[in-house]
Amino acid sequence: MTVFVLCILAFLVSCTKDKTEPNPTEGLTKLSEGYAIGAAAKVEVYTKETSLITGYTKFYIALYDSVSGKRIDDAHIQLNPMMDMGMMQHSAPFENPASTEAVNHLFPCSVTFIMSSMGGTWTLDIDVHNHVNDKEGSITLPLTIAEPTASRQKSFTAVHNGAKYFISLISPTASTSKVGINDMEIAIYKKASMMSWPADSSLSVVLTPEMPTMGHGSPNNVNPVHTGNGHYKGKVNFTMTGLWRLNLDFMSGTAVADTTQFFDVTF
C-alpha cells in the first residue's frame, strides 16, 4: 500500500516537474499576428486589455521562427505607430523594447494613442531585426482605438512655453484601485513635430485627488516625480470607493505649465 502511494506521489511529482513552465502570455490577450516579411519571423502582439483605448498602451510581442516555430528571444524591435487622417499623418509617443533580450520570451513595449480611430486610421509598424538569423523585416498591423468614457489621455498647451504636452494615466486603473494607498503613474510626452513625440522630464507634477460628488479630497498623497523615460511615479490615496478625480497641476520650475488637467477613476 505504502509503495503504491509513493508511486502515485512520485508520478504526481514527476508530472509537475515535466510540466512546461507557465505560459508567458497567460492572462494576456492576443491582439494580432502576422509575419515580419524578410525576418523569417512570426510576430504575435499581446495586450493586457481585451480591446484598445486611447492612452498609454503596453504591448507584449512574441517572436517565433517562421519555419521551425521556435521562440526568438534575441531581436531588435523598432515600433512606428501612425495615424492617417487623410489630409495628414502623425505619429504618437512610443517606447521600443528596452533590450534586444526578451523578458520571459516577450518583448515589452508601448504606444500612447493620443486619439481614437474616430479621426482616422491607426497602424503600427513593427520592424524586426532577427538576431538569430541576422535578417530584418517588418509587419504593419491595423489597430482600432476606442475612446473610453473616462479618458486616460489628456493634452494641454503649456502656458510657459506654448508647447503641446500629452499626458497619460498609467495607474491606477479601475481594476487595480482600492481604498488605501495606490501607486500612481503617469507618462508625459512633448509634441516636437508631427513625427516626433519625445518623453518629457522637465515638468513637475502636483496631485490633488478629490471626490467631486462629496467635495472632499484625501490625505498624504505623494506627488508623481520623474523616474525615467517620461514616467512619473507617486502615490494616490482613496479613502472610499466611488468616483475620484485626480487633479494634476504641471509646473516648469516655478512657472505654471497647466492647472486644468484631471483624470477620473471610478471603482
Binding site: K178, V179, G180, I181, E210, M211, T213, M214, G215, H216, G217, S218, P219, N220, N237, T239, M240, T241, G242, L243, T266, F267
Partner: protein
C-alpha cells in the same frame, strides 16, 4: 414585593449569595445598589443603597432615570434612547459598563448603543457603581465601573409559577411600556423569563414643540435557567435578546433603522460559608451586537448613506471571595475577552457606483486581566483597603482592507500591545459614633478605544469634525484621590465627597488643517491625540433625612470642574446639579414632590464647539397606591413630570435638543 422578599429569604443559598455580595461591595468607593428589597435588608445598607431603593420606588422610571439620579453619574444624551453613562465626567473607554461582569462592545461608531440599553429595570437585580479606588478591579479604567446585575430565577417550594405584569403610559411621547416577568421552578430547576416592549412617538418638549426623530420602539427579552447542583453549587445560563427599530436620534444626522443584540452566558456559582474561599463564580460568555444606522427618513440630506456596524465579544470571567483571617478578606478577579469590531459606510449617489469605506476598519482587541482587592478591618476604628489590577491588551487590524485604510494615515503597523497597571489604597477611620472619614489614592490606566486608535473619518455631530484614529496613542494614566466624610445621625445621614483626578495623555481631538473633511458640511478633520494632561475635580454630597416616620427626604448635589493642560474647560462637564425629593407615605399611599435644579454651565470648551447652557428648575409630582386586585398585590402609580412645562436641555445633551415637557404618566403593576 413582600412575596418576593419571602421567597428569597426561604431560598437559603441565594440569600447567602446576596449577603456576600453586599459584604464584598459595601465599601465607600464601591457602591452596590440593591434593587430588590431582600438584598437591601440582608445587611446594613449604605447610603447609596438607601438612595437607589428610594428612587426605585418610582416604577415608571427607566434605568436611565435611576442612573441619572446618582450623584456620581451623568448621562450623555443623543436621543431619547441609549444615553451614555458618564462617571464623574468620564465615559466611553474611560469606564467599564458591564452586564453581569460581561464586556459588551457597542456596534455603533456614534456610541448610540451603550450596554445599559440591554437591561430593563424589571430585569435588573443590582447595580454596582465603583469609582476611584475600586473602579478598575473589573477592568482597567480611569473612571470607574458600572456593573448591571440581572435578576436570577429563584426556587420556591410552594409556588411553582409567579411573576408580574405591568403596563404604563406616558403623555409627552404617547409612549407605551409593557412588561411581563415569569418565574417558574420545579425540583432543582428554576427559570426566569421576562419581556419588555416599549414604543414611543416623537415627544413634545416644554412649550409644545415636537422634537422630530425622537421616536423609538424596542423589544427586550431574557431567559435565565438555573440548576441547583447541590447545596453549595448552581449552574446558570442566561440569554438576553434586544431588538430595537426605528430609533430616532434628533441630535445626530442619522437614525437607527434596526439594532439587535444577542447576549448569552453560562456560569457556575459556588458558596461555602465556612470555607476560606467562601464564594466563587466563573462564567463563559459571548455576545453580538449589530447596528444599522441610516438617514433614509431624513429630509434634505446631501447624500444618502448607510452605516452598519457589528461587534462580537467572547470572554471568560472568574471571581472569588476569600477570608484570610477574621480581619482580612480578599476578592480575586480574573478575566479574558476578545472583541471584534467592524463598521462601514456606504453612500449612494444616482448614476454612480456606491461609495464605500470602513469607518471602523476590521479590528480586534484581546484582553487578559487579573485583579485583587484586599480589605482589612485593622481595629474597631480603622478599615484599610487596597486594590491591584493588571491587564495585558493586544489590539490590531484583522483584514488587509482594514490595513489598507489605515495605511492612508501613514501607519504601517497598527498593532498594539500594552500592559496596564492599576493600584489603589484606601483608609477609612471612624472618628466617633456618628462620623466617619475616608481617604483614597489610586493610579489607573486605560487603553485607547477602537475609535481612538482606528476610527476612520468618524463624524462627531457635537463639534462637527471628522475624527481620525491614531494607532500610536498611549494609554491614559490617571492619578486620583478622593476624601469623604460621612455622618450617621438618628434621623439624618449626610455624606460629602471630594475627588481629584489628574489624567496624563488625556485623549482628545486636535484639528488637522491639512486634511480635507469627508462629511459634507463638516467643520474640519481632527486627529485623536493626547493632551499632556487634564484635571478633573468635583464634589458630591447626599442627604437622607427622615424627620418623622412618614416622611423621607433625599437630596443630592454634585459639581465637577474639568480643565485641560492649557487651563481651558474640558467638554461634556455637567454643571452644579441638585435633585431633591420629599416623600410622604401614609398607609398604602404615597405622595412625592421632586425638584431637579441645575445651574447654568458657562465653563465650556470652545475647541469642542460647546455653547453655554442655561440653568433650569424642574418640579415633578408622583403618587402611588398599593391594593389587592382579585387577591393579587397591585401597584398603581401616576404623576406629572416637569409640571411647569419648562423648555430646557442639559449641558450633556448633544445638539441642544430640548428635553420632554410636561409629562403625565400612569403605571399599573400586578404581582402574582
Amino acid at each position: 414585593m413582600k412575596q418576593i422578599t419571602l421567597l428569597l429569604i426561604l431560598s437559603s443559598s441565594l440569600s447567602v449569595f446576596s449577603q456576600n455580595n453586599v459584604a464584598l461591595m459595601s465599601d465607600d468607593s464601591s457602591r452596590s445598589i440593591e434593587l430588590r428589597e431582600i438584598q437591601v435588608i440582608s445587611k446594613e445598607r449604605t447610603d447609596r443603597q438607601r438612595m437607589l431603593h428610594f428612587y426605585r420606588a418610582n416604577q415608571s422610571a427607566s434605568l436611565e432615570d435611576i442612573l441619572s439620579r446618582l450623584p456620581e453619574l451623568s448621562l450623555i444624551r443623543r436621543g431619547t434612547y441609549g444615553m451614555e453613562p458618564s462617571i464623574r465626567s468620564l465615559s466611553g473607554g474611560q469606564i467599564n459598563v458591564l452586564v453581569d461582569g460581561m464586556r459588551i462592545h457597542g456596534a455603533c461608531t456614534d456610541k448610540m448603543d451603550p450596554a445599559t440599553i440591554y437591561i430593563e429595570p424589571v430585569n435588573l437585580e443590582q447595580l454596582q457603581l465603583q469609582t476611584g479606588s475600586q473602579g478598575f478591579v473589573y477592568g482597567s479604567a480611569t473612571g470607574g465601573t458600572v456593573n448591571l446585575i440581572t435578576a436570577s430565577p429563584v426556587c420556591h417550594p410552594d409556588q411553582k409559577l409567579h411573576g408580574l405584569i405591568s403596563s404604563g403610559f406616558q403623555t409627552a411621547a404617547k409612549s407605551l411600556h409593557e412588561a411581563l416577568q415569569l418565574n417558574y421552578n420545579t425540583g432543582n430547576w428554576s427559570f426566569l423569563g421576562s419581556a419588555t416592549w416599549r414604543k414611543s412617538d416623537t415627544y413634545r418638549s416644554g412649550g409644545g414643540e415636537k422634537i422630530a426623530f425622537s421616536q423609538y420602539e424596542k423589544l427586550n427579552y431574557s431567559l435565565a435557567a438555573s440548576y441547583q447542583l447541590n447545596q453549595h453549587t448552581r449552574i446558570k445560563a442566561d440569554y438576553i435578546g434586544d431588538n430595537g427599530w426605528n430609533i430616532g436620534y434628533p441630535a445626530l444626522p442619522m437614525d437607527v433603522g434596526y439594532a439587535v443584540a444577542r447576549i448569552g452566558s453560562l456560569g457556575i456559582q459556588h458558596t461555602a460559608a465556612g470555607k476560606r474561599l467562601y464564594k466563587w463564580q466563573a462564567k463563559l460568555y459571548a455576545n453580538q451586537v449589530r447596528h444599522y444606522m441610516d438617514d433614509t427618513h431624513r429630509p434634505n440630506v446631501p447624500i444618502h448613506m448607510d452605516m452598519p456596524g457589528r461587534s462580537m465579544t467572547a470572554g471568560f470571567t472568574a471571581e472569588g471571595a476569600m477570608r484570610i483571617n477574621r480581619k482580612q478578606q480578599l476578592r480575586l478577579v480574573a478575566d479574558a475577552s476578545t472583541t471584534r469590531l467592524t463598521a462601514s459606510m456606504t453612500m449612494y449617489e444616482a448614476g454612480q457606483p456606491p461609495m464605500y469605506m470602513l469607518t471602523w476598519p476590521d479590528n480586534r482587541k484581546d484582553q487578559y486581566g487579573a485583579g485583587i482587592s484586599w480589605t482589612c478591618q485593622a481595629d474597631s476604628n480603622w478599615l484599610l483597603q487596597s486594590a491591584l489590577r493588571l491587564d495585558y491588551i493586544h489590539t490590531g487590524l484583522t483584514t488587509q482592507a482594514a490595513k489598507d485604510h489605515i495605511s492612508i494615515l501613514g501607519v504601517t503597523d497598527a498593532a498594539r500591545n500594552e500592559l496596564l497597571k492599576n493600584l489603589s489604597f484606601t483608609g477609612t477611620r471612624k472618628l466617633n459614633d456618628r462620623l466617619k472619614a475616608s481617604a483614597s489614592v489610586a493610579y489607573a490606566e486605560r487603553m485607547p478605544t477602537a475609535t481612538e486608535l482606528y476610527g476612520f473619518y468618524l463624524f462627531n455631530a457635537q463639534d462637527g469634525y471628522d475624527y481620525l484614529g491614531n494607532p500610536g496613542l498611549l494609554p491614559e494614566q490617571s492619578l486620583q484621590g478622593e476624601i469623604s466624610l460621612q455622618t450617621n445621625g438618628k434621623k439624618a445621614r449626610l455624606k460629602f465627597t471630594a475627588f481629584y483626578n489628574h489624567i496624563r495623555h488625556f485623549i482628545s481631538g486636535s484639528v488637522n488643517q491639512s486634511f480635507s473633511t469627508m462629511t459634507i458640511g463638516a467643520n474640519g478633520v481632527k486627529n485623536f491625540s493626547a493632551l499632556p494632561f487634564a484635571n478633573l475635580a468635583g464634589l458630591e454630597s447626599s442627604l437622607l433625612y427622615k424627620p418623622i416616620a412618614a416622611i423621607d427626604i433625599v437630596s443630592t448635589l454634585r459639581y465637577t470642574n474639568g480643565k485641560d493642560n492649557t487651563g481651558d474647560p474640558l467638554p461634556m462637564i455637567a454643571p452644579l446639579k441638585n435633585t431633591s425629593t420629599v416623600r410622604y407615605q401614609f398607609s398604602h399611599f404615597f405622595l412625592q414632590l421632586e425638584t431637579e435644579a441645575a445651574s447654568a454651565q458657562t465653563e465650556i470648551s470652545g475647541k469642542y464647539g460647546e455653547d453655554k447652557t442655561n440653568g433650569y428648575l424642574l418640579l415633578h409630582a408622583r403618587s402611588g397606591c398599593q391594593f389587592l386586585l382579585a387577591g393579587k398585590k397591585t401597584d398603581l402609580q401616576l404623576g406629572v413630570e416637569n409640571i411647569f412645562d419648562k423648555s430646557y436641555h442639559e449641558h450633556l445633551d448633544w445638539g441642544n435638543i430640548k428635553r420632554p415637557g410636561r409629562n403625565g404618566y400612569l403605571m399599573i403593576r400586578l404581582n402574582f
